[in-house]
Structures are given as C-alpha cells and as structure tokens.
C-alpha cells in the first residue's frame, strides 16, 4: 500500500514539477509584482494597492473590460452556432468515415498559415476600396463604400470568429462521433422528431465538447490583443491591449495588476461553466 502510494507520487512528480516551475511560480510572481510601485523606468518591491486602485477607479478600464466581455460573448455565441453546425453536419450527415475525415481536415486547412496572415488577409477584402465594397458598388447595391466593414467592431468580431471557430468544431465533433448511433435510431423508432433528437440526445451528449470549445474560445478572445489592434486599426481596446500598453511603457506592476484581474475573471467564468457541466464525468 505504502509502496503503491509512493509510486503514484513519483509518477505525478515530473508533471507537478513542470507545472510548478512554469505555471504556478510565474503566476505567483506576476501577483507579487502587481503590488509593487513603479516610476518611469524602475519598479521596486513594495506592498501597496495603488495599481488596483487605479484600475478599479478608471472609467476607461471598466469600459475596456466591458467591451472585452461583450466581444467575448458575441464571438462565443457565433463560434458555438457555426462550430456546432459544422460538427453536426460532419458527424451525422456525412455517411462514410473517409469523407468525414477528409472534410474535417478541410476545415483545418486555413490553420496551416499563421494567425497573423489569416487576420491581415481580411484587410484588402474589407477596405474602402476592397473587394467587398468594389463588388457591392459594381453591383449597384450601394453608392458609397461601407465604412464599417473595416477598422470597426464588426471586423474585429469577424476575424475572431474566423480564427477561433475551429476550436469549437474539433471538440464538439469529437464528442459527437462518440455518441452511440443506436440511441438516435431508438429515438427515431420511438417517434421522436429530428428537433427532439437534437435537443434531447445530441446536445446533452455533446455538452463536454461544447464546454471544452467554449473554454478555448473564451480564454483566447479574452486574452487577445493583436487581433483587436489590427482589425480595429488601433481604435478599440481590450484588456490585452491595456496590458501590452503598460508593458510597452515599462509599467510592469500596473500590467501585472491588470493581468491578475483578467486571470481571476477568466477563472471565474470557466469555474461557473464547469459548475454547469462536469466535464470529467462526461468524458
């Protein structure tokens, strides 16, 4: 018994070590630095709440957090609907496994290029003299180019959805593939409509996949700074940009404080989501 106990400790030790050194320690360090004071170039150890006071007292910070939330909710909803639909189609409408895999791989093709390229490639498409505007003007639908296509919340949202839908597709597709097909047949035999099958069988059984996808998307959107910067032409800010601005100006303690608040917010959201679905039980 004792030997088995020791063995399991030893087996867990390498991973624990890695997590402690590369995850726990840095987070503790960031938390510690968030209480330090800084002037223009130097920052020194201290224990004061000035960085947090400034953050919570700043109307701009509240607004930016609000905008980040709003963006996260919109992007989450869109990626969920699109991702679920694609996964559903792949899992239940495509008959052969060969085609399922082929089409699944097809959805990953855009991800063979870098994040930045996929994002930037929208710019020539959406610009004032971009392809979309030219086509619409050419077709006589509009007379003036649409301004809101680029450097707007719209373009930021669009880029996010484009970038992160795959993170929904993969886990949902994965859980859907593991749903026993005989359940669906039984439901159909029992007289359930397609919609009833969807709401009573497929959605409940896909929940773990939906949750994992949601956690990916929420964490990615909330921590992003570069997409927002490029797609809004620097006109919108999210929390990530507040942090990167602070870092650029050597205000590490203030950046650390913002990072800690962001981390806590994301953890709370994910914690709440995990209350809804016990991923481990369902996997």
């Amino acid at each position: 018994m004792r030997r088995a106990n020791l063995n399991s400790w030893l087996l867990a030790a390498p991973l624990t070590g890695v997590l402690v050194v590369f995850l726990i320690l840095p987070i503790l360090l960031i938390t510690a630095v968030s209480f330090w004071t800084a002037d223009e170039f130097s920052f020194r150890p201290d224990f004061q709440f000035g960085n947090y006071e400034y953050l919570f007292g700043s109307a701009v910070a509240w607004k930016v957090f609000g905008l980040t939330f709003m963006m996260t909710v919109i992007v989450w909803a869109l990626t969920l609907v699109i991702g679920f639909t694609i996964a559903f189609f792949l899992a239940f409408h495509v008959r052969t496994q060969k085609w399922q895999m082929a089409l699944f791989l097809l959805t990953t093709i855009p991800f063979w290029t870098s994040n930045i390229i996929r994002m930037i490639s929208w710019i020539p498409l959406l610009g004032k003299n971009g392809l979309v505007n030219q086509t619409l003007i050419g077709a006589g639908v509009i007379n003036e180019p649409l301004q809101w296509l680029l450097y707007s919340s719209f373009s930021v949202c669009l880029a996010f959805v484009h970038l992160y839908t795959l993170f929904m597709v993969v886990p949902i597709f994965n859980t859907m593939m593991r749903i026993d097909k005989s359940l669906i047949e039984a439901a159909r035999d029992g007289g359930a409509s397609g919609f009833q099958i969807l709401t009573n069988i497929i959605i409940p059984l896909s929940k773990p996949g939906i949750m994992i996808g949601s956690i990916f998307v929420i964490a990615l959107v909330m921590s992003d700074f570069v997409t927002t910067r490029f797609m809004s032409g620097s006109q919108l800010a999210n929390v990530g940009r507040l942090i990167s601005n602070d870092i650029g100006l050597l205000q590490y303690p203030s950046a650390a404080a913002t990072a800690v608040v962001l981390l806590i917010t994301v953890l709370l959201i994910i914690g709440a989501m995990l209350r809804l679905v016990d991923i481990r039980k369902e996997l």
Binding site: E40, F41, V60, K63, G233, Q235, L242
Partner: protein, 421 residues
C-alpha cells in the same frame, strides 16, 4: 561551405596577412583583432539598414548587428537592459529619458574627427546664426554632459557628448492630393470634419502628442507655453479635443509602424495623416500620389544619434569610435539623404552624392534627371522638386522637437485613455 575546408585562396590570404603583420606589427594586429569585434546596435527602424551593416564590414572589418524596435521598445531596452546592446541608436528625446539611468557613457569629442562639421542644430541649437530655437527637446539641450559619469545635461558644448548626431528630419502631415483636391496649408486640417473617417494619427504617445499639439494650436483651441513640456491642464485640453474627434468618427485608424502608415495611405483608407518621410516615398513608389505637405505653422522635427553603452570598453570601445567616425565621414550620410533624411554632417555626405541628388535632396532644386532610391528604383522624375524645398527652408521652419515632458507619466496615461476610449 564547410568551415573545416581550407581553400587555396584563404591560405594565400592568411599568408599575406602574416607577412604584412610581421612587416608592420602594431596596426596589423589591431586590424586582425578588430575583425572579431561584434558591436550590437539597438535602435529605431529609421536608420537600421542592412546596407549600413554590410558597408561597415567592408570598410571597417568588424561586425555590426542591428536590431530595429519601435521607439517605446528601444527606450525600454536602453533603460533596463544595458548589457543587451553596445550602441544605442536613439532619438534625442529618448536620450533625455535614458541618460539619467547611467546606462550610456559620454563621448569625448576630441576623438570625433568631423566634430566641427556637425550641423549647428546639434551643437548650439542654431541652424543659422539668427535662427530661433524651437520648443520641445531640442537636441543640443540634451546633447552634452559635464563629463564622464555625469548624469546631468550641460547647457553648452562641454566636450562630452551624449549622442553623436546621425540623422534628423522635419516631419509634417502626409496627404493624398488626388483625393483631397484642394490646397492644404495648416495642421488644423487633420481635424477638419471634411475628412471624417479619412484621417489618422500615429499611436506613439511621445510623438503623437506633439502632432496633436500642432493641430490644437493651429485650430486656436489651445495656446501652449511650451508644446514640448505641457502642463497637465494643457494635456487634458489637447487629448480632450482629440477624444471628441475620435468619438465623432474623425479617424479611420491609428498606426504604430511605418508599414501601417504606408498601407493606410496607399489603399486610400486615409487621405491625411501623420507620416514619416520615407513612408511618403514608399507610397509614391507604388505609383500613388502622396505629398509631404509643408504647413504654415511649421514642422515637428526629430533628431537621432548613436550613444555608447556604459559597459563598452577596450577594443570594442575603440571600434565604436571608429564606427562613429566612419558614420560621419559621408557614405552613410549620402545613403540617408537619399532616403529623405538629413545627415548631421552635410558637407561630407555631399562627396558621396551626385550633383543632381545633392541639388534635389539638400538644396531643394528641381531634379535634372531621375532621382533613384538607394535600392535603385526611380522615385522622382526630372523636374520634380522636394516637398518643402531646401534644407534651410525645411529645418529652418521647425516649430517643435519631439520631446519628453515633465508630466510624461500623466500624458502617457491620458494617451492610453484616448486610444482605449
């Protein structure tokens, strides 16, 4: 090629060097040693050209490694990581921020061969004997310190320089004349509602705030005692006006890097914006009309120079002085002038430029033949005249220098609010 293989040519070269070394011992040993020196230069992208590093290798024998960063990142590195660079290629306002950290060392002007030929702007602040010194961090005010180890700036030429000036220019607004269709002559036009959704300003606080100040002053909304050193009240007013404009949709985007400004202008997203001289050239090189518009209120000017890391000593320090002397000896000057910048020692640069090039870039004369960029593409045809005219016309109308204010931290906070609002 494998390093292990000895080619006949290398052995001959080695032999020749050995013969020469025994014939003239001292200088050749020096020349051999210096080949191993690697100087790491960190700086803003403006003067980080690979051509310069290649020419250093060719002319001086040692290796220059260049890292280009944006202004904020350079400041950060110069102030916090003195061991990560040997040469800091920075602007004078950055010098004002970084010098007090003690990470740079003062340079002895007696070791600078062309010191006497450096433009007056960098020595006593006067371009011509009767020119008025502009507001902001004028280079000569932070160009000297009392002596080695001193962290306070000297008020006049003390024999110890903080930065050796290398490059400078007068900046103004860039416009798309074809899309605007009428003359533009004032900074105030940036906020003209006529250009709603078609204007841009750069998102680098220390430079952007100066462009803002030029605009607010031109509009008659704010009068500044010194644009380069605003009071908190002046900062509030200035940023307030721009926040209002942002809310009203005046700006299409803000840009942070050179290429962003080029793309905004070339694609027609923006018709009027803060811009840097080579960005104008890049837009024109795409066949898109773009003018670096001289404005009646004058230019916002900046100057850059190279400083030495405090840790530099011995042979690398000697190599750094060699590099500085080489920098001022003309080849780089000519190279930079062809980019639309000015060299700190114009008269040596002249030796490395054709008469037509010198006439076009420096004297503001009409080009007599095609004007080529350093990479060889035609950027101006015969008959073209430089926007803003001659060196004296442009540098003589500087209204303020890029600067760092006493209220810098307050300004930066306000700037972040402007961007985030």
């Amino acid at each position: 090629m494998s390093k292990m293989r000895y080619s006949r040519r290398n052995i001959l070269k080695g032999g020749a060097a050995a013969v020469a070394a025994s014939a003239f011992p001292a200088p050749m040993i020096w020349a051999q040693n210096i080949k191993d020196v690697v100087l790491r230069q960190a700086g803003t992208g403006v003067s980080a050209f690979n051509e310069v590093a290649a020419k250093v290798k060719e002319d001086l024998g040692f290796t220059l490694e260049m890292t280009a960063l944006d202004s904020d990142a350079v400041t950060q590195r110069a102030a916090t990581q003195p061991d990560s660079y040997d040469i800091a290629d920075i602007e004078y306002w950055i010098c004002k921020k970084v010098w007090p950290t003690g990470n740079l060392q003062a340079m002895d002007i007696s070791k600078i061969a062309n010191y006497d030929k450096i433009a007056g702007t960098f020595r006593d602040g006067k371009l011509t004997p009767d020119s008025v010194i502009a507001q902001g961090t004028a280079p000569h005010t932070v160009g000297f310190v009392e002596g080695p180890g001193s962290t306070t700036f000297a008020t006049q030429d003390s024999g110890w320089m903080t930065l050796i000036p290398t490059i400078y220019n007068a900046d103004t607004l860039g416009i798309r004349p074809d899309l605007i269709g009428r003359p533009i002559d004032s900074w105030a036009e940036l906020l003209n509602p006529e250009f709603k959704g078609k204007a841009s300003i750069l998102d680098i606080s220390s430079i952007g705030i100066m462009d803002m100040a030029m605009v607010c002053e031109a509009m008659g909304e704010v009068t500044y005692a010194d644009k380069g050193n605003m009071t908190t009240e002046e900062i509030d007013k200035t940023i307030g006006i721009f926040m209002e404009a942002k809310k009203n949709g005046q700006f299409r985007a803000f840009w942070k890097s050179f290429d962003e400004s080029v793309n905004l202008m070339a694609s027609g997203e923006v018709v009027i914006q803060s811009m840097w001289s080579p960005a104008i050239t890049a837009v024109r090189a795409q066949g898109v009309p773009c003018v670096y518009q001289p404005l009646k209120e004058g230019y916002r000017s900046w100057g850059g120079g190279i400083g030495l890391s405090a840790g530099l000593s011995g042979l690398p320090l000697d190599a750094a002085y060699e590099y500085i002397n080489w920098y001022l000896s003309g080849w780089v000057g000519g190279f930079l002038m062809r980019q639309g910048y000015y060299s700190a020692v114009p008269e040596t640069s002249k030796l490395f430029m054709s008469e037509d090039e010198w006439g076009f870039w420096y004297e503001g004369k009409a080009a007599t033949g095609d004007i080529l960029s350093p990479s060889g593409t035609v950027i101006e045809k015969a008959g073209a005249v430089r926007d803003g005219g001659s060196f004296l016309d442009r540098m003589g109308k500087v209204a303020c220098w890029n600067s760092v204010m006493d209220e810098n931290q307050y300004m930066v906070r306000k700037w972040n609010e402007f961007i985030a609002a």
